[in-house]
Symmetry: C2
Subunit: 382 residues, 2 copies
């Protein structure tokens, strides 16, 4: 019988928090987990995404149902480390909270999934079906890891999926998509006293951006759960001398899409509007730098129902069932699945704590989710 | 009798080109010229502008008329030096041209003025009146040097002014003003999935800039010589993460003003429009970073007439008499003078060559302007 003690659980989380997997180095997390799985005879596979970045997939059991459980191994930058009360990469307990970059988003969830796999296997608790543990790379910067897993068929036979993203008080069953575009406007340099000898790249770009903003934010289509699409110009840069007409202006845009107004339609609208400007003498180019579709499921599933019950039982609260504006790896992992696919994001931590200085997860919730995940798997695999 | 040989003229220009007075180090040029003046008993005075930057004023003769002759000691950056055929700070002759940063704009003109002063003094050629040599600092970046000289009264008693800026084929008797503004829009950061928790600083700035562009470029007022005012947004920067709503957006604007639509009116319009935006919830701030007024004179003067004749005589061409879009130190030096003040920019070199890689001045024109300047002074001081 294997029964992880609280000390062991803290030790393993602490080891993984110490790995600075800031948009890179996920391979160290993968190697750590692979070694842990190896100790208990669980087969796992490192799946390269780039030369240096990898996913990890591990599996126990056989046959159906296939329960997919997923978490990402990367964390965001701690920002100014001097603003942290304790070192962001040293798991530190204060007042019942476990502090550290990634405690909340989402190494506590990820470690729980791994440890549950081990106990289920070691104690032969899983009588039926398969559990596929899916640890991804680069979730915070475009989801290259989950894209790779989708492409390689790791989701083809999956019957249930949850990602252990931080949301202990809510079951997220659908979320917006996220689309990043880079818009480049090319002009011609000239001295600002003789602008007619050049072409100012900034003005057509500003007009274009405001027109796209009007078109998209002004669109009335609405998703019943996710509400409206949202667009924001988040970066703009042009020029370096106040006396020179700028020859290049570049903006970056983030669009949060909904099923009713999806990534493809938005991209098409950007391209068509650029064409219009270009016919009038501008030189505007549209580049898609990231495109993650929205995830929409009905939220009616055995999995959601069971998760709600377990939330009540172990967390002493009634998790709400909601849509979210933020993306997860499900944008990639659920490509091609229909609305009835049982999906949720549910894990120790809080959405609002993600990416913050002094990020923490409640220790009790970290432990509670171990039990929730284990019962959830046993309930679904019956 | 002192008569500078061509070799001496080249040597002195070469020494001054070798001084890298790129928006700084004008003091080395001033010290060089002061030492030269000292050798010939001409009194000169270093006039500090900042801790490290200075003007130089030298004078010969007494009483009226007071003829002001002026040039700036700074040059613009050579840019990528590897693109120059020869070292930009080593005066190099090829095919009758003298290459080097500042040969054209405007050390050839400046050196001529200094050498003419010396011959006039040494040979007692100046029978009447005063010649005031005015060498300035920082002309290329806002005219702090000329502003200082105006404030300290060095222009109060001046009857004629020419600046030896490069324009061998044209007498520039009026030019536009130049106004630089920095516009800062403050918002509030938020994650791009929840923009309602913040305020995007970019959008109001873009709207404001386009509105100002419409207002100013759309204004029909026209100067008979200088044509219309021109505005350009030349720099814009905001945001650094595609997933973050930017909390700050900054733009820089250059406006080329005319007497009919002057700097004060433009500044007022920028401020009033910002007030309107701010009443509607934006936070837009307007900062004036440089304000050089336009220079408008009638162009009818003994000086212009004489300069035209001398152009024909020494350059074998008929200089046109024109207005120019580019500013000179006259924006500051002529503050408070009326339209009848005799002013011109006239010197060896070409406007279009200014600030270019492989900048050069024709050697023959460099020498010719020595004679032009000398005869001009003698003609005006009669």
């Amino acid at each position: 019988m294997k029964h992880f003690t609280e000390e062991e659980k803290i030790k393993i989380l602490s080891d993984i928090i110490a790995i600075k997997s800031i948009n890179e180095n996920e391979i160290e997390v993968a190697n750590y987990l692979k070694k842990l799985f190896d100790q208990y005879g669980i087969e796992s596979k490192i799946i390269p995404v780039t030369d240096t970045r990898v996913n990890l997939v591990a599996e126990i059991g056989t046959g159906s149902p296939v329960i997919g459980v997923s978490g990402h191994m990367d964390v965001v930058s701690p920002g100014d480390e001097s603003e942290w009360t304790s070192d962001p990469f040293t798991l530190t307990e204060r007042d019942g909270k476990l502090y550290g970059r990634g405690t909340n988003d989402m190494k506590a969830g990820l470690v729980n999934l791994a440890l549950v796999m081990i106990e289920l296997k070691e104690n032969k608790e899983l009588k039926n079906g398969t559990v596929r543990f899916i640890a991804t790379t680069g979730e915070e910067v475009g989801g290259a890891g989950s894209q790779k897993l989708y492409e390689e068929g790791y989701m083809d036979d999956v019957d249930y999926l949850w990602v252990a993203e931080p949301s202990h008080d809510a079951l997220v069953y659908c979320h917006k998509g996220s689309l990043n575009l880079r818009i480049t406007s090319i002009g011609e340099a000239a001295h600002s006293s003789m602008p007619e000898q050049g072409y100012n790249a900034i003005n057509p770009l500003m007009k274009y951006l405001l027109e796209m903003d009007d078109k998209l934010n002004g669109d009335n289509r609405k998703n019943e759960v996710l509400d409206k699409l949202i667009i924001n110009t988040t970066i703009i840069n042009a020029g370096n001398q106040v006396n020179s007409i700028p020859e290049k202006a570049v903006a970056e845009i983030n669009v949060r899409t909904i099923p009713e107004f999806d990534n493809e339609e938005v991209i098409d609208l950007f391209n068509k509007t650029a064409d219009k400007y270009n016919e009038e003498g501008s030189d505007i180019d549209v580049e898609v730098t990231m495109s993650l579709p929205s995830v929409f499921t009905t939220g009616s599933s055995k999995m959601i129902n069971l998760a709600k019950e377990l939330g009540k039982k172990y967390l002493d609260l009634e998790p709400s069932v909601i849509g979210s504006p933020g993306v997860t790896d499900a944008s990639n992992l659920l490509r091609g699945k229909d609305d009835n696919f049982p999906f949720m994001a549910f894990g120790p931590g809080e959405t609002k704590m993600a990416h913050k200085t002094d990020e923490y997860v409640y220790k009790d919730y970290y432990f509670a989710f171990f039990d929730i995940y284990k019962e959830l798997i046993l309930g679904l695999s019956k």
